[in-house]
Amino acid sequence: MKDTDVLGAVRESFADVHLMSPLETVIAEGQMRRRRTATVRLSVAMAAVAALGLGALALTGLSTPAVHNGGSGPGVVAQPHIKPAAYTLVRNGDGSVTFTANDIVDTVAATEALNDAGITGRVINMGGDPGCTMTSANINPTDTYPDDTNTWAFRQGESSATFQSSDYPVGGGLLLVVMQFQQQGRERPEVPPPSMAVGVLAFDDAANIPTCLNSDIEPGTGP
């Protein structure tokens, strides 16, 4: 028996299987999902604002390396904020990939590493481009997979995310957003480094993955 005969037998065995759900029911459910995701979009934006303000946390400046001068003494060059290889990317035995951020990342290198690991998508730093007008509230829920943006969350201290290629449909991809939290007002050198968080959001179409993202609120304006 040829391979095609075996596959043909499988096909024929399912010939009596039909989906009975009426089109009208499917469309009605789809419409309901659209309305729900529109509502979710608003609530996610509000939740993001609340989360970012929790515990008097504020975003640190991420865009440019800071240079401080002590005034009377010699100039002191602060550690640059952007360091290459500030992340680890591990391919797990089950095919998943774990991305851990230790600092804000070199997004080009991190994206290349992500893609090399078989994951379509992009790594960006939250607030990495001050001129960026895209915020999480601007992301169209119908572009994401599933179609609601409440599937992602930033949690302080959760600097790792594990995902796999089956987390997005064919043609889609993942957006990995690295975010840095720092306690407001703490700028002395003995203060521990700021904690990191990694957010992951899947998109139906890789072409719709944002190239940059800014927070919905101005740094330091949380409650």
Partner: protein, 173 residues
């Protein structure tokens, strides 16, 4: 865009979606059923996936393989159910109970043979047989290499041939 023009666009979209649904509903159900082995669950998953497809029709209709999108979405939804269930219910020996084989509308022996295949082999069979996807597209849908698809298919076919159809060697005994 004016209200009338917007209504016309929605009507056109709905017409395209209706044709897509009619053309692929059965194939998608068969593909998902072949993987999950549970008729009731498969119908719910596929109907939900089609609803998601309509909710995101602007994106899905541009997809190179929209039916594969539906199947992948249905199977991913199943993974979500499974993860949710795993969090809610602590099972001693198995993460999830094996689905009932009876009542699928498919020959029980064939369904049992499919259930014995590894999950990835079932997915390859489902996409190749019921959606008529070529090796490259199947590989993209599953996020694996084309050679891996070919290998999975060959192993699956060999297993099914051995289990379901008496081979000449067996007949000679």
């Amino acid at each position: 865009m004016g209200a009338l023009a917007r209504i016309q666009v929605v009507a056109q979209d709905q017409g395209r979606f209706a044709r897509f649904y009619e053309a692929h509903r059965d194939a998608c159900l068969r593909a998902v059923l072949a993987v999950v082995g549970d008729r009731h669950a498969a119908e719910e998953l596929v109907a939900e996936a089609f609803a998601k497809a309509w909710a995101a029709w602007r994106t899905v209709q541009r997809h190179p393989a929209p039916a594969a999108w539906v199947v992948r979405t249905a199977l991913n939804t199943r993974v979500s159910w499974w993860r949710r269930r795993r969090r809610e219910v602590a099972l001693a020996d198995h993460d999830i109970a094996a689905p009932a084989i009876g009542g699928t509308g498919v020959d029980a022996a064939l369904m049992a043979a499919l259930r014995r295949l590894p999950a990835r082999q079932r997915e390859v069979i489902a996409l190749r047989v019921f959606l008529d996807l070529d090796t490259e597209t199947t590989a993209r849908v599953l996020g694996i290499a084309s050679g891996t698809v070919t290998a999975h298919l060959a192993r699956a076919v060999a297993t099914l041939r051995g289990q379901l159809v008496p081979t000449p060697h067996q007949e000679a005994r």
